[in-house]
Amino acid sequence: MISRRSFCKKSLLIAGGLAIPLSCLELFDPKRLLAEKDQKGPRWVFLVDTRKCVGCGFCVKGCKVENEVPYDANVTRTWVERYVVTSDGKTHIDSPKGARDGFPNKGIDIGHGKLEEIKDDDIDKAFFVPKLCNQCDNPPCVQVCPVGATYQTADGVVLVDRSWCIGCGYCIMGCPYGVRFFHPVFHVAEKCNFCYHRITKGMQTACVDSCAFGARRVGNLRDPEDPVTKIIMTERVNVLKEEYGTKPQVFYLGLSKEVK
């Protein structure tokens, strides 16, 4: 029969003994070891040259097919916006079906299936702006997910775990850029992930591959020799909605103040 005293002693011994191997997990934290060896992986960033975009919408088509977002569903991981600034100072913006089919109408889509016609003479300037997930350094969508189903990888891309998302929509509400939506088939949060399955294998994203004009480029910010990094470091680039403190990582060349 074991006495109370020896029971307590032995329990403490076992607990202490177990604690030693457990503490190794902290001693040999693989993430920290990797960081100390200064072997940082890539930090994926995106560069959009709005001056080169013609609004053909091939990027949207390419993305939808590659990422299995139902082709006719009115949601998309990436889209193109058209801005028409008229001489009265007004800005007219549209993105019919996310510009999946480009911009088939000259009139501006103002909802309810109505078009607003604008005379050519009234137009001061007009341009296209491609949009996609900004893979923010401080992603509000990751912060608000109640179950941790959306997370940021070490190389900066924000991903969604389709097997874990509960579909509350808090991340959709938390994103100032409106890049998130519910996938019509999987019924979980869905977003652009820079074609993570492609870039991690050395390929380009589907939208970059579909763009015939070189308006879209993906790069690694931690590689100083990367041409995208060189442009970001040496030229005048801008980001969207900096005031939200999200630290967006999609950089724009030729961004105008009208862009929302």
Partner: protein, 415 residues
């Protein structure tokens, strides 16, 4: 069809993925938790602060708060795209999210209310259990009741004077602990909205406080209204059974008790209403005065598109009219009932104007979205996130209250 497309009408420029994702169920959620918190605070006014005049309604509101509790969770479940995974919020909470606190706060609060109820009704449980035990040859129903009540006593059969006094002390402590938890339960519902920096209408540190104040207002209003309704039923029953059971309270006794309780409770209703409206107006004035980037679109939503919802229904019908109704001297039961119903409407519209109004404009600040609530369901989605779903959520607490009242009779004097 994409989720949200069925009930969203877009106007001008909105981002392609923008829809009204949070619909009527997310309006119901803060409304229901508000009722829970408010009902509890009302009962605590008696238990903690010893407001004797509220004795009649204190036990009633405590049981009603408990009946409302599971229903606070129901709209969230109905809104989830993956309702079967809803439990993960409790199992794998991600603590940087305001929603993750739900499991902890909700269960803490549930435990507090449940244990407070147990102490309040322990004497009744023991008496009923002993009474049933004494019966020789119990019927199946009686046997079931006996089992239920003896389980509910948890083996504590001591109902001596000292034991009951100890119970009362425990009730007081639990009620005191419950007030901050109830406020937290609802304040954090406000935080869920107030902390969304992407939404110009929601983002304000005042949101949790506004939510708490309007929660207490709605909770008290619902308690008054339900109290009046149950008293009316009791009056009818009293009229019918008076001849057979002369020991029952008479019509006049019930009437005067009712008028007294209602008058006292409505005073507290008014106090919290003043606080709620002050904060809401402060928020509105501050937004207009500072007029940051988002104010242009907010102004067109608040003063143009949602004008009727905000200023006519919420502030006018829901705040001003009941305010006048309660302030006119010589408060009658009928006037109190109408006033409380209008207050409930006002608080519901406040939730609506926050949740739906916050999605009425695109985060591009260049377009609008309009929510068309599905009235008649044509799919599971429109059933859950439409009028029918909301009515289910609104109806369940009354059913639960009916059942709970069988076990814990609200109107029986146990102390």
């Amino acid at each position: 069809m994409v989720h949200g497309e069925a009930w969203t009408i877009k106007e001008f420029f909105t981002y392609p993925n923008e829809y009204i994702y949070w619909t009527i169920q997310i309006v119901m959620y803060p409304f229901m938790t508000g009722l829970v918190a408010g009902a509890f605070v009302l009962s605590s006014l008696y238990h903690v602060f010893g407001v004797k005049q509220l004795k009649g309604i204190a036990r009633f509101s405590l049981v009603f708060s408990f009946a409302l509790l599971p229903v606070a969770m129901l709209p969230l479940l109905m809104h989830l795209q993956q309702p079967l995974r809803g439990i993960e919020v409790m199992m794998t909470p991600h603590f940087t999210s305001a929603i993750a606190a739900f499991g902890i706060v909700f269960s803490t609060y549930g435990m507090i209310v449940a244990s407070e109820l147990w102490f309040v009704f322990r004497k009744h449980f023991v008496e009923t259990a002993l009474g049933l035990k004494a019966i020789e040859g119990r019927s199946v129903l009686q046997q079931g009741q006996y089992l239920l009540f003896s389980v509910l006593t948890l083996g504590a059969y001591d109902i001596s004077h000292e034991a009951i006094e100890a119970d009362e002390r425990a009730v007081k402590k639990l009620a005191a602990a419950g007030i901050p938890v109830a406020c937290f339960l609802h304040g954090y519902a406000g935080f869920i909205f107030g902390s969304v920096k992407a939404n110009a209408l929601w983002m304000t540190p005042l949101m949790p406080v506004i939510f708490i104040c309007s929660a207490v207002v709605s909770g008290i209003a619902l308690c008054i209204l339900t109290y009046i309704l149950t008293m009316e039923i009791r009056k009818q029953l009293a009229r019918r059974h008076r001849l057979a059971h002369p020991e029952l309270p008479s019509m006049e006794e019930l009437k005067s008790a009712e008028a007294h309780v209602v008058a006292m409770t409505s005073r507290y209703l008014l106090m919290f209403m003043v606080a709620a409206i002050t904060l809401e107006l402060l928020d509105l004035i501050f937004r207009g005065y500072t007029a940051v980037k988002s104010w242009d679109i907010l102004r067109s939503v608040i003063y143009e598109r949602d004008f009727v919802n905000i200023f006519v229904v919420q502030y006018g019908l829901g705040n001003l009219v009941p305010f006048v109704l309660f302030l006119i001297p010589g408060l009658t039961i009928r006037r109190a009932a109408v006033g409380s119903a209008l207050v409930l409407l006002g608080v519901f519209m406040m939730r609506w104007n926050v949740v739906i109004g916050g999605q009425a404009f695109s985060s591009s600040f260049s377009g609008f979205m309009h929510y068309v609530m599905p009235l008649w369901p044509d799919s599971m989605e429109t059933l859950k996130e439409g009028l029918v779903g909301a009515l289910i959520v609104a109806g369940v607490p009354f059913g639960l209250f009916y059942v709970l009242n069988k076990v814990m009779p609200v109107f029986k004097e146990t102390h």
